[in-house]
């Protein structure tokens, strides 16, 4: 299924509630071994950052981790090279 996704999209972004070394890292390993990066796939892995996050509401903690909807949105635009909605429309 992952290879199908990669066939039909120019970018793949993985997303999880965990540190580096988990789901995204395994997908990256799999794609690397499949030679997909040799053919130019854009790839991003959204994971918990390299810090221990102090207590707050779960939503606020995920904001600190940049894993909320607005962060995912920004990541998509970034990987496609679209600086901002306004800029694209102008």
């Amino acid at each position: 299924m992952i290879l199908d996704l990669v066939e039909n999209h120019e970018a793949l972004i993985t997303l999880e509630e965990g540190s580096v070394g988990g789901f995204g890292s395994h997908v990256a390993q799999f794609l690397a071994e499949s030679g997909v990066f040799d053919r130019g796939l854009k790839f991003r892995s959204m994971v918990l950052p390299d810090t221990f996050i102090d207590q707050a509401s779960p939503r606020d903690m995920y904001a600190a981790a940049a894993l909320n909807a607005e962060d995912i949105e920004a990541k998509v635009l970034d990987v496609l090279g679209v600086a901002s909605i306004g800029a694209a429309r102008a």
Binding site: H9, L15, F23
Partner: protein, 546 residues
């Protein structure tokens, strides 16, 4: 100082040094005000209440007798530290406990010099205390280490590893066993006057012998499945032999709410102890606040509450909790398959297995705070033909990692890991984050790792796990409520290694593992709403085969 303050004496104490300036007969009032302030603070913040109330007197006396922060006071677990924080220059922020930008609900080095060692997981205090003791001696310092550890924490092997090591080293550390499972204390009058006389200059051994005399006043041990370790422990502390075998002098039991016992004992220990000593202190969890004392859990963890009535303010829920969905699905499975058994490590209500234990008491095992044992115990049951569900929070599963690798994975045993509190957990902070379980499980050969995107998927994952006999399998789910989706009746197993397409799109594929899916969907919605943006989005949910 506020006018008409209800804590006039506490108001004058801005540090442990100020506390040490009080006269001994002022400590009773100080303790009462400290208790009141603790109740007041937690009523506003929510958090752990009962544990702190049980150690109000003990905390005050420890700071009074010992020269903190040079003397290292280490609270095991740390959830009983709110009175400690109030006394150690953090009273002004005590109503920010557990909130974003506020005080941690546990001890934390970065927060205060009076927190020499951070905690939140259990049974680490004696090990850390020994480390401080050795470091002090090697640098020619005279500082003392005092570890305050509860009887619950003593069910973990690590506490014995530490005592065994400390006992053989002739360390001067002090271990205070805070025992709140017993509800009786030796008669105050006889003990206190005897101890006071002893402190006046009798040999230390006599003090110990006198304290032992209180043994006959303790109630007979009570039988409860999950508390066997503590029962055995109590049977032994009554004679003190086990601790002495480990190299510790044993002193106790003494009443941890009676300053007339605590003060002379701790002063004597400070002046006279020449080797490692364990002081057995009897306290009452929730002491001094009737709603807590009467509660089944003695006010262990509470939401914000009304001080006068004790009534907690619980937010209305919109969807069932993931924990509940797991527990109920497991119950349905257990009804059809008598090989299904469940294990928890001292967290029956947190894991939802209290429901399981009620219906199938002989098939539910609470091993105490003993994750290493719990994991290998499950491995043994799996090898013996059962279908064990090992329900341990992500963060606590860290405590049993070699057992996961060596006992479960290498032998490819079909243990089912139900990993609650995956991801970020909120008020308990970094110490309880379920950040690493995917990383440390998915890299194990033959280990299937799943993450539920919503409660419907969780139910299906429980079923999938039950049917998977080829090797170990884990499913993770977060704290809190589900998304409110329809529940499949009955839940069908999932096909391992397959994902599902949630939304079709064009240029970008978002591959989500677990409950971030709802955020990805929201992002896709927002991106789609931007009209002329050419980027599309495809979200899929995937279970990775390890």
């Amino acid at each position: 100082m506020a006018e008409n303050s209800t804590t006039p004496l506490l108001d004058t104490i801005d540090s442990p040094a100020a506390l040490r300036g009080l006269q001994p007969d002022q400590l009773r009032q100080l303790a009462d005000e400290l208790r009141e302030e603790t109740i007041s603070a937690v009523s506003v913040t929510g958090g752990h209440l009962g544990a702190g109330l049980g150690v109000v007197e003990l905390t005050a006396v420890l700071h009074y007798v010992f020269n903190t922060p040079d003397d290292k006071l280490i609270f095991d677990v740390g959830h009983q530290c709110y009175p400690h924080k109030i006394l150690t220059e953090r009273r002004d922020r005590i109503r920010t406990l557990r909130a974003g930008g506020g005080l941690s609900g546990f001890t934390k080095r970065a927060e205060s010099k009076y927190d020499p060692f951070g905690a939140a997981h259990s049974s680490t205090s004696i090990s850390a205390g020994l480390g401080f003791d050795v470091a002090a001696r090697m640098q020619g310092q005279n500082h003392r280490s005092i570890a305050v550890i509860g009887d619950g924490s003593m069910s973990a092997g690590m506490a014995y590893e530490a005592m065994n090591n400390a006992g053989s080293m002739k360390s001067r550390m002090v271990v205070i066993l805070n025992d709140n499972e017993m509800s009786i204390a030796p008669p105050v009058g006889a003990m206190s006057s005897y101890l006071s006389r002893l402190y006046a200059g009798q040999p230390f051994q006599e003090l110990k012998a006198a304290a032992k005399g209180a043994v006959s006043l303790l109630p007979p041990p009570f039988q409860e499945g999950a508390r066997r370790a503590r029962e055995v422990l109590k049977g032994m502390t009554v004679g003190g032999t086990m601790f002495e075998q480990l190299g510790f002098s044993y002193l106790g039991p003494i009443d941890g709410h009676d300053l007339d016992q605590l003060l002379p004992v701790l002063r004597t220990v400070k002046e006279r102890a020449t080797g490692p000593i364990l002081i057995h202190v009897i306290t009452k969890k929730g002491k001094g606040y009737a709603p807590a004392e009467k509660a089944d859990d003695r006010g262990h963890g509470v939401a914000k509450f009304d001080v006068v009535t004790g009534k907690q303010k619980k937010a209305a829920s919109n969807a069932p909790s993931y924990t509940r969905v797991f527990a109920e699905t497991l119950l349905d499975l257990a009804a059809k398959d008598d090989k299904v058994v469940a294990v928890t490590a001292a967290m029956p209500s947190g894991t939802g297995l209290d429901l399981f234990a009620e219906r199938y008491p002989s098939r539910c095992f609470d091993v105490g705070i003993a994750e290493q044992h719990g994991v290998t115990f499950c491995a043994g049951m799996a090898a013996g033909g059962m279908k064990p569900f090992c329900a341990i929070y992500s963060t606590f599963l860290q405590r049993g990692y070699d057992q996961v690798v060596h006992d479960v994975a290498i032998q490819r045993l079909p243990v089912r890991f139900a990993i609650d509190r995956a991801g970020l957990v909120g008020a308990d902070g970094a110490t309880h984050a379920g950040a690493f379980d995917t990383a440390f499980l998915a890299n194990l050969p033959g280990f299937v790792v799943m993450a539920a995107a919503d409660e419907a998927e969780l139910a299906r994952m429980v079923v999938t796990a039950a049917e998977h006999n080829e090797g170990p399998i884990a499913f993770r789910f977060p704290r809190g409520e589900g998304v409110g989706c329809e529940m499949p009746q009955p839940p069908e197993p999932l096909e391992i290694g397959k994902g599902r397409i949630v939304r079709e799109g064009k240029r970008v594929a978002i591959l989500s593992f677990g409950t971030r899916l709802s955020e990805a969907e929201a992002a896709a919605e927002a991106l789609g709403a931007r009209g002329d943006q050419p980027n599309g989005r495809r979200c899929a949910v995937c279970q990775a085969a390890g």
